[in-house]
């Protein structure tokens, strides 16, 4: 990201900010979509983050931290969207996907489905750290700085996210009780 553009945008230059938006919006949207797992929510989070960033840009003191700063705004926008979505979907039960797995590739699809379901059950703050670490490839220290949380908190969120995925997958791997009555 061009420092001059950030400085111009900080002084109120909308054209400069538009250039910045086009430079960072793909990354922001990709992160939002992976955290929220919903294209519509991700779009809302992206829009809110971009407008909030514009509003608050005059108060960014370290221009070199622009990308980390705007990603933090995005993650908080994802928290808000997740909250709204949770209120909406609180009563929607996730239905398990049944079906055999085999070596012909369907097991890969099943694994993805399992991951999708398990990931969706994680708290959004754990999902955020997981995505920032595994998708953007950021080290935990950098994530902690970006989100303004202690490094230990970032580490524990990643740990719990990974454990949550493993536990959920283990639970799904348990043999299903066949239909009918239990003896």
């Amino acid at each position: 990201v061009d420092r001059d553009l950030v400085e111009q945008a900080r002084r109120g230059d909308r054209d400069a900010f538009a250039v910045l938006v086009h430079q960072v919006s793909d990354s922001l949207y990709a992160v939002a979509q992976r955290i929220l797992r919903d294209p519509a929510l991700a779009e809302d989070a992206l829009q809110n983050a971009l407008v909030l960033a514009w509003r608050r840009l005059p108060h960014l003191r370290e221009i070199d931290r622009f990308e980390a700063w705007i990603h933090r705004i995005l993650v908080h926008a994802c928290y808000d969207e997740s909250q709204r979505a949770r209120q909406w979907t609180a009563n929607v039960r996730v239905l398990p996907i049944d079906g055999p797995t085999s070596s012909d590739g369907t097991s890969v699809i099943a694994d993805r489905d399992e991951l999708e379901r398990a990931f969706g059950r994680l708290p959004v703050d754990q999902r955020a750290v997981f995505v920032l670490h595994h998708y953007l490839g950021l080290p935990l220290v950098e994530i902690a700085e970006m989100l303004e949380i202690p490094a230990g908190t970032a580490r524990s969120r990643l740990h719990y996210a990974t454990r949550g995925l493993r536990d959920a997958l283990l639970a799904e791997a348990e043999p299903a009780v066949p239909g009918g009555r239990l003896a």
Binding site: D26, R34, L41, Q47, L57, Q83
Partner: protein
């Protein structure tokens, strides 16, 4: 796939799947909004959020009508009322994403009576990201007290006789707007400006008003800074409401590069003023806060709480023997702090900072205030799911006895956010 290595491999591979380009319509919609959205050049208080559009008067009438009808049905004991959240009735608005599948919430008010009957008002931080002052109706619904006053209406504070209500206002949709203090009454009468002599750079904004018990003085936060720029400092100030003369307590002056002043309050005997000093980082996000005490003449400055405790929102009991306060300031819940999301409880302490007693635990609580007469405490509580996710979520209004017992809900809503409830003292 459940051993750690294969899990990590699969997860890395899986997380790569998905779109890598932002939809053009979302980017263009944001840029379109930005064309009409001013930047916050003077971040007078960090919980401000942007505004954008002005709603129609018809929408306002429709909203009030819906609330009235819903309330009437509720009163006559009809079936459970389900009223979708209409467009916010406030006359100035903010970020409006393009229509999408994202859900919007539904309020489900309940009401629990208090020992005292004064009108409760609170801040409603609306889904459109502006703060409006609302009154709590007997039905449990909130209704705007000042629907014709544009922009953000913040930090309502009653005079001790209940006849006046002071608040701070500014309109983010108006680049020339600066934060000023007004006063109205329980009926929402035409607000009268209290701020009359505030000119940059010596006075950029005024916020956080509170009356002295005799109603003759008002303590507030005065911000200095150039017009159109961020503030340079803040200070506790006192206005003589008879003459309009303002006295700044220089000992409390704080450069904005490191901190700002928040929530000043008179002791009932008017000899002392408590206030919060909020430390901020380079992005103006709060990192810590302490409650301080100063003599009304500006001498005797001393801290009442320890660094790292993130204490704030102090409120004196009517008899002056206890100070109610919160660990973490609700206005900064969204900004976070060192301990954001943890240990956000309500306490009381003696006016010298000793004998601290915790009144709440477990759930995130904040924004406390004494009810009229001081026998109970109003406050805000975040729902349990919010604690798990770290979201700002949907605080409900609660009440408890002054010793922390009998904690119960006064009103609950399905959407964010109602907080800083304050009850009108007996008129």
């Amino acid at each position: 796939m459940t051993d750690d290595r294969s899990l990590e491999r699969a997860a890395r591979s899986w997380i790569e799947i998905g779109p890598t380009e932002a939809p053009e319509r979302a980017v263009e919609a944001a840029l379109h909004l930005i064309q009409t959205t001013p930047q916050v050049r003077a971040l007078r208080i960090p919980w401000k959020f942007p505004n954008a559009f002005t709603p129609t008067r018809i929408a306002t009438v429709a909203v009030i009508g819906a609330l009235t009808i819903g309330g009437a049905v509720f009163i006559v004991g009809g079936p459970p009322v389900s009223v979708g959240v209409p467009p916010s009735p406030d006359p100035s608005h903010a970020v409006q994403p393009t229509p999408s599948a994202s859900a919007r919430s539904t309020p489900s008010p309940t009401i629990s009576p208090l020992n005292s009957t004064g009108l409760i008002v609170f801040e409603h931080f609306t889904p459109r990201l502006v703060t409006r002052i609302e009154q709590l109706l007997p039905t449990g619904f909130g209704q705007e007290l000042l629907p014709d006053v544009p922009g953000n209406q913040q930090t309502p504070s009653w005079s001790s006789d209940g006849a006046r209500l002071a608040f701070a206002q500014f309109d983010p949709g108006d680049p020339a707007s600066r934060q000023q203090i007004f006063e109205t009454d329980a009926t929402g009468s035409e607000p009268r400006p209290v701020t009359t002599d505030c000119r940059p750079p010596a006075c950029l904004d005024e916020s956080g008003p509170a009356y002295s018990v005799d109603g003759r003085q008002m303590v507030f936060v005065r911000w200095a800074g150039p017009l159109g720029g961020p503030p340079t400092s803040s200070v506790v100030a006192i206005r003589d409401l008879t003459t309009g003369a303002v006295t700044e307590l220089e000992s409390t002056g704080t450069p904005y590069a490191e901190a700002f002043i928040d929530h000043p309050r008179w002791s009932p005997d008017a000899t002392h003023i408590s206030f919060t000093r909020v430390l901020i980082d380079a992005d103006a996000a709060s990192t810590d806060s302490r409650i301080w005490l100063v003599n009304a003449d500006g001498n005797g400055l001393r801290a009442l709480t320890e660094p790292g405790f993130e204490a704030g929102d102090a409120e004196w009991s009517p008899d002056g023997t206890r100070i109610l306060f919160a660990r973490e300031i609700v206005h900064h819940w969204s900004g976070g702090g060192k301990g954001a999301g943890e240990n956000e409880w309500i306490y009381t302490m003696a006016p010298d900072g000793t004998a601290s007693t915790r009144l709440t635990s477990g759930r995130r609580t904040g924004a406390p205030s004494w009810t009229a007469g001081g026998s109970q405490i109003l406050y805000s509580v975040l729902d349990a799911s919010s604690i798990a996710s770290g979201d700002i979520a949907t605080p409900d209004i609660y009440v408890m006895e002054a010793d922390g017992s009998n904690q119960r809900k006064v009103a609950t809503y399905g959407d964010c956010c109602r907080w800083y409830p304050v009850q009108q003292p007996a008129p």
